[in-house]
């Protein structure tokens, strides 16, 4: 058979998202004929209601962050933004160590995302395309770990971390989440379909080592899925609360921890708390506005085969 260059199939796939049955333009043409009925006015009305419900709390975060506390707590509550946004943001920044917290969050989420992408792609490739003893069992084991809540291990984890000198340090929240079972599963599902065996075999005929194959065949094919996994991982790591709240302290928090402690202080100023909440949410909302389509596609493609 003819050897295909590794670039072509990657471009051949829908480049911006993993193939989801029905959500891609081509697939819809097939489906649309029989199944997909046109949405009526009721459909749109219901979606508008749900949509408003989805963004109202976020909108109101902005409203509350732009008034002084007196006005926020008043009845009737304010419904339009006021003029104190900037000073509240500054107060939140100064009070809650937010500058440090944001840098920490970027470091934590960045490290976790980079490591997840690297290790999960490797493991996903191995599970999808390589033959080795115990593969089925090990894959089941990976999925089974998804059902273990972090609560079950936080007590010894805390003791271990202080034992090895990571107590209160960012390492203690980065290392436990370096490679997630979800990521391994996600990459495996994608590569099962997207990576043709012929490509690997062709590379082997050319004398490529496995590492070489990963570098020049697997990675180009996996790139769209890696992008989606990267965003999902970043969102998760940025928003993680339980373990970071237990492991870190006020001097060295992530943004979520800082936010939790800001509100736990004795007399929290609500509009300043809301300003902090706004700061912590804006970066992710920005990511969502830009990459919403990819994230939606990623969640849906992970779901179908799961």
């Amino acid at each position: 058979m003819t050897t295909t260059s590794p670039i072509k199939p990657a471009a051949d796939l829908t480049p911006d998202r993993p193939p989801t049955p029905g959500s891609g333009g081509r697939a819809r043409l097939v489906l649309g004929a029989g199944r997909q009925l046109e949405g009526g006015p009721f459909t749109y009305a219901a979606l508008v209601v749900v949509g408003l419900g989805s963004i109202f709390p976020l909108y109101w975060t902005l409203v509350a962050a732009s008034h002084d506390q007196q006005r926020v707590l008043d009845s009737p509550p304010p419904l339009l933004p006021g003029g104190r946004l900037w000073s509240n943001l500054q107060a939140a920044w100064d009070q809650a160590n937010l500058g440090r917290a944001i840098v920490n969050s970027v470091v934590v989420a960045g490290c976790i995302t980079a490591a997840t992408l690297f290790f999960c792609t490797l493991a996903g490739y191995a599970f999808a395309k390589m033959r080795f003893r115990g593969r089925g069992f090990l894959m089941t084991a990976v999925i089974a770990t998804l059902t273990i809540p972090p609560q079950l291990s936080v007590v010894p984890l805390f003791m271990m971390m202080s034992d090895i000198g990571w107590g209160g340090k960012l390492e203690s929240v980065i290392f436990p989440t370096l490679v997630g079972a979800f990521g391994v599963f996600f990459m495996r599902q994608y590569l099962l379909e997207a990576l043709p065996h012929e490509l690997i075999e062709a590379a082997k005929v050319d004398g490529a080592t496995n590492l070489r194959i990963v570098w020049s065949v697997v990675l180009p094919v996996a790139r769209p899925a890696m992008m989606v996994l990267g965003m999902l991982t970043f969102v998760q790591a940025w928003n993680d609360f339980f373990w970071p709240f237990l492991a870190l302290n006020q001097q060295n928090p992530t943004i979520q921890v800082a936010l939790g402690q800001l509100s736990a202080s004795y007399t929290p100023d609500q509009s300043i708390v809301m300003a902090g909440a706004l700061i912590s949410t804006l970066p992710l909302l920005l990511v969502f506005v830009i990459f919403g389509k990819q994230i939606v596609g990623g969640i849906m493609s992970g779901a179908v085969k799961g």
């Binding site: 749109y44 979606l47 109101w60 979520q256 509100s263």
Partner: protein
């Protein structure tokens, strides 16, 4: 492009270089041995990081938790431990607050999961129509997913405020008087469930939507030829096809509701949050664990709580299994 269905036998790596281009007799055996080692060891090397990290930070602590649960370990002196046998377990099992937390976790779990999944199902059905700007709607309902627990809980804390909260203000127009959401036995649980529902409904809707789009079209065509109405099609075609997905979301939501922490901690904030309300009315197991371990500083009982959670999870899994089998039998 042809999709390759990955069956195990479909592809075999070149065994020892015999399938590859021969490189001459001399270097071949040396090379082929290297190749064989590469093929043998590489897959394990690629999956090793996951198992190393899980072993070190997942499995080992899980077992270690059992050891701590049988010892006295204090936050103030982490290095010291003293064997106490089953004392920690009897301590929490005799604590009425523990049972309150168990009941609360269960109740909040049910009243947050059931409506959430039902609404998600309906929402997915709507999104499955052909829509203008379908990506926009999907992204819109997913925005709560981008919001952290902390932010969501803090905003809703203001929304649910007793005097002057925006929800009570709206309810005034319906003739409802001020409701003290945070302090009520049921209202506080409802408030926490609302936060959970708000954050996760859109996510679950997308998962259902993906499953709905994978349902073969001919099923619907056959049903409509048989004269099934839209509602009947939904009930007799969509729901049965979605059963594995629904089961999956139920499992995930159940595990999620066992972990509820940020929502109760921040609903009222401060000391009230870390004890789950003035009367522990919304104290979940995670809060109870946090309170014992990190506020009171007794890590032994906290570890015992973790093991109790594990037992509860297994119990729920067992119930799920039995109910699932029963449902399948009665359906057949």
């Amino acid at each position: 492009m042809a999709t390759t269905t990955p069956t195990r036998g479909a592809y075999s790596p070149p065994p020892g270089g015999s399938g590859t281009v021969p490189n001459g007799p001399g270097p071949r055996s040396w090379r082929s041995r290297l190749w064989r080692f590469d093929d043998l060891a590489s897959p394990y090397a690629y999956i090793a990081p996951f198992f190393l990290v899980f072993g070190a930070f997942g499995l080992y602590p899980l077992l270690y938790t059992g050891w701590i649960a049988l010892h006295r370990v204090e936050m103030t002196s982490l290095g010291q431990s003293e064997w106490v046998g089953w004392d920690n377990f009897s301590r929490i099992l005799q604590d009425s607050e523990f049972w309150t937390a168990v009941a609360n976790t269960f109740v909040i779990g049910v009243i947050s999961t059931v409506p959430q999944l039902l609404v998600a199902l309906g929402l997915a059905h709507l999104l499955n129509y052909r829509l203008r700007a379908s990506t926009f709607w999907r992204t819109l309902i997913l925005t709560p997913y981008a919001t952290s627990v902390a932010t969501a809980a803090l905003v809703f804390a203001l929304v649910f405020r007793a005097d002057g909260g925006i929800l009570n203000w709206v309810l005034h127009f319906a003739g409802v008087g001020d409701i003290d959401w945070g302090n009520g036995e049921w209202t506080s649980k409802i408030a926490i469930s609302v936060i959970v529902i708000w954050r996760w409904t859109g996510y679950n809707a997308l998962i259902y939507l993906a499953a709905m789009q994978a349902v073969p079209t001919d099923l619907y065509e056959a049903a409509s030829i048989d004269g099934a109405s839209r509602w009947q099609q939904f009930r007799k075609v969509t729901i049965p096809s979605l059963r594995p997905t629904i089961l999956f979301t139920i499992v995930i939501s159940t595990i999620g509701s066992m972990q509820l922490f940020g929502e109760p901690l921040l609903l009222q904030g401060g000391t009230l949050g870390s004890m789950g309300g003035s009367e522990h009315q919304y104290e979940t197991l995670s809060i109870y664990l946090f309170n014992y371990g990190w506020k009171l500083g007794h890590l032994g009982p906290a570890a015992a709580v973790a093991w109790a959670m594990l037992v509860l999870l297994l119990l729920i899994a067992l119930i799920n299994l039995i109910v699932g089998r029963f449902v399948r039998k009665s359906a057949a």
